[in-house]
């Protein structure tokens, strides 16, 4: 991977964290992972990640590596959050966010609307909702189910935590966002 690609990825994370400040929820690892997934896989942003499916949704360890790099280079600031049942991480813009933006200014300019779209669309979702939506999108895209009903059947097997109704609602949301089409194409 070239440094330019790394700079683009770091700048993207910086930009997401900055836009996220308007949201009530904290920006955690799940949200960053899934936003990178949606931006690459549905909006065509050339990030060069290679997502594959785990029980907790689409994942690429390179996103975490970049996240670690962003923290070390002060592009992002990392904090630990203590929940009643364990701990998690939260991310905010770091002191060197300006340098990150400067090094990938063209990339950010080209993708300004995509980044805004991702934060606006997914910024108020819980980690569980993001796992469900990204899993549904991944299955729809890469498994080519025959129709929406088959898609819902497949997701139910992967996500036993979610009810049939919750999964259907998630799929409907992807349809309304025009990330999926209702009628499959056969060509």
């Amino acid at each position: 991977m070239s440094d330019d690609k790394l700079f683009s990825r770091l700048a993207l994370m910086a930009e997401i964290s900055d836009h996220w400040r308007t949201k009530a929820s904290t920006l955690g690892r799940t949200a960053l992972m899934k936003l990178c997934f949606f931006l690459q896989e549905s909006r065509g942003m050339p990030l060069g990640y290679s997502f594959s499916l785990y029980s907790y949704g689409p994942f690429d360890s390179d996103v975490l590596s970049d996240l670690g790099t962003a923290v070390r280079l002060n592009v992002l600031k990392e904090g630990i959050i203590y929940y009643s049942s364990g701990t998690g991480y939260e991310y905010q813009p770091g002191a060197d966010i300006g340098s990150a933006r400067d090094l990938a200014s063209d990339f950010l300019k080209e993708n300004k609307s995509n980044i805004q779209w991702a934060v606006d669309t997914f910024g108020n979702k819980t980690a569980g909702e993001l796992e469900l939506l990204s899993t549904a999108f991944f299955v729809a895209k890469y498994q080519n189910p025959a129709d929406i009903e088959r898609l819902i059947d497949q997701i139910e097997l992967i996500k036993p935590h979610f009810s049939h109704e919750q999964i259907r609602k998630g799929v409907d949301e992807l349809l309304s966002l025009k990330l999926l089409r209702k009628q499959p194409t056969t060509t």
Binding site: R43, S50, Y54, G68, R72, T87, T185
Partner: protein
């Protein structure tokens, strides 16, 4: 349903005896799996470490053995959770265990000759057509060896999987359920187990570190495997973080995991990214390009699209490539490999990433060095930064040994994890005949760079107020802080110079 009985054992230099069921032995006996005997695990690494001639065959058996140990350990520590979330009963566990064993056994069955060294010659994927997704992909991607593994499992091996009596009678495992764990596609509740096939703490890396270390004759890859196995478990995470269970490690095993990560770092430094190994990979890639062009008319392996193309791919193994190289079909690079006349390292440029500006400066500096060496540069290798994948182990969750409550990520506890992260390297190579002259050019570049730095310092000091004669001393070569300096020739002792202290300039070290 019980696990199938073990009907034969194969002696493994790392794990002792590895047992196979009849179902598994049929797969191991297939020509597709036997081909792995003829695919070396570490390509041309035996040019540096002569013992490193082991194959993907023994590694695959080892991964199956370790994945089973991890599976059994997780079930033992976390059975109630898995029964509740994934609705496993005894039959479900036995079936999932068999799927995990098959996925581990077959995870590398689609490797091209010489393993990862040839992956750049896998073809580009055709643009995807998606029935329910209306958009387009961002960038075309190369096939990966996992794509071939999946095609082999769902193609030529499907008949063995479907046809075996034990599978028909007991498990009813579909080939797609096995390949799903390798490629990461939907597999129902079995998908949870993908983490021990390809995850933060998977059987693949646990095996290859021990195996590669043993065969290379180095100790860098060793760690406390038994401690990790005894510490692994499944946990539920806080719902604010995820809705799904995940593999975690009890805190008592944290140091063993740390040792595994350090072992991986050392193995990359000392073996996988050894300067000569990287040069050989470069020659091998170019020689293979030449061979493929002659043999198939295309500078890439066949895609796994049709059964004929897949069969054509499977006919490529190390033996065939070595035969063609021996006949001189690999061109200049093949000849270099056969005579060990590989490119020689001129310099290894440290790529610092302590800050964004430093990282950017390092990149520009590397470009300047390459420019200064002009036409002597034959190859530039930038192995994927050492810390890059290692860093992802930060995700590993630690839990309390007693109540399994999540207590944080490994990175929160491990100072070691943080300190092995900085920097990567750029390797610059020249022809053997030019390497000496190229090194002279490199030394010249470093001298000129030092002179420029000194001149810039002098300008700064001259511009600063109240320095008096000190600026002149510093510009004349005084050492600006306490440091060991090389002694005058012939004295044989290192000397510690006094720190020059200047009026108005605090010594901040």
């Amino acid at each position: 349903m019980q696990n199938d009985p073990i009907i034969c054992e194969i002696r493994c230099p790392v794990h002792g005896f590895i047992g196979l069921t009849d179902f598994e032995r049929r797969i191991v006996d297939s020509p597709q799996f036997q081909r792995l005997r003829r695919v070396k695990q570490l390509a041309w690494t035996d040019y540096v470490y002569p013992g490193a001639t082991h194959s993907r065959f023994e590694h695959s058996l080892g991964v199956m053995h370790l994945a089973t140990r991890l599976f059994d350990a997780i079930v033992e520590t976390s059975e109630p959770l898995l029964r509740r979330v994934y609705r496993y009963n005894d039959n479900g566990f036995a079936r999932a265990r068999q799927i995990v064993r098959l996925a581990a056994l077959l995870h590398d069955v689609g490797h091209p000759p010489f393993s990862h060294a040839m992956e750049k010659l896998l073809p580009l994927k055709a643009a995807g057509h998606y029935s329910l997704f209306p958009g387009q992909d961002a960038e075309p991607q190369l096939y990966e060896h996992e794509d071939y593994s999946v095609a082999i499992i769902e193609g030529p091996l499907a008949e063995i999987i479907h046809g075996h009596a034990s599978n028909r009678r007991n498990f009813r495992i579909e080939p797609s359920e096995v390949s799903a764990l390798i490629q990461g596609t939907p597999a129902g509740p079995t998908l949870f187990w993908r983490e021990i096939i390809s995850g933060q703490l998977d059987a693949d890396r646990m095996d290859y570190l021990l195996r590669d270390s043993l065969h290379a004759g180095v100790s860098y890859g060793k760690y406390d495997l038994n401690r990790i196995v005894s510490s692994i478990c499944a946990i539920e995470r806080p719902s604010e973080e995820s809705e799904e269970p995940k593999v975690a490690v009890m805190k008592g095993g944290a140091y063993a995991v740390e040792a595994l990560i350090v072992a991986r770092y050392w193995m990359h430094k000392q073996v996988y990214f050894h300067k000569t190994r990287l040069a050989c990979d470069h020659h091998l890639g170019n020689a293979m390009r030449e061979i493929l062009k002659t043999e198939t008319g295309i500078e890439a392996f066949p895609p796994p699209g049709t059964p004929e193309q897949l069969q054509s791919f499977l006919e490529w193994d190390d033996f065939r490539v070595m035969g063609l190289l021996a006949r001189g079909n690999g061109g200049e690079h093949g000849e270099r490999l056969m005579t060990r006349n590989h490119y020689r390292l001129v310099c290894e440029i440290e790529h610092l990433d302590t800050s964004l500006s430093e990282l950017n400066r390092s990149t520009r500096r590397a470009e300047e060095i390459v420019k200064a060496l002009r036409t002597k540069v034959k190859d530039i290798e930038r192995p994927k930064a050492l810390w890059y994948k290692t860093k992802a182990n930060d995700e590993l969750i630690l839990v309390d040994d007693e109540n399994r409550r999540q207590i944080g990520y490994l990175s929160s506890f491990s100072v070691l994890m943080k300190s092995i992260n900085a920097g990567s390297q750029v390797f610059v190579y020249a022809d053997k005949a030019d390497a000496g002259a190229a090194k002279v050019d490199y030394e010249k570049f470093l001298r000129e760079e030092a002179e420029k730095t000194r001149a810039a310092e002098k300008v700064k000091i001259d511009a600063a107020p109240n320095l008096g004669s000190a600026s002149q001393e510093l510009a004349d070569g005084a050492v600006p802080s306490t440091q060991l300096a090389f002694p005058p020739q012939g004295t044989g002792k290192m000397v510690q110079r006094e720190v020059p202290t200047y009026k108005g300039v605090p010594n901040v070290g």
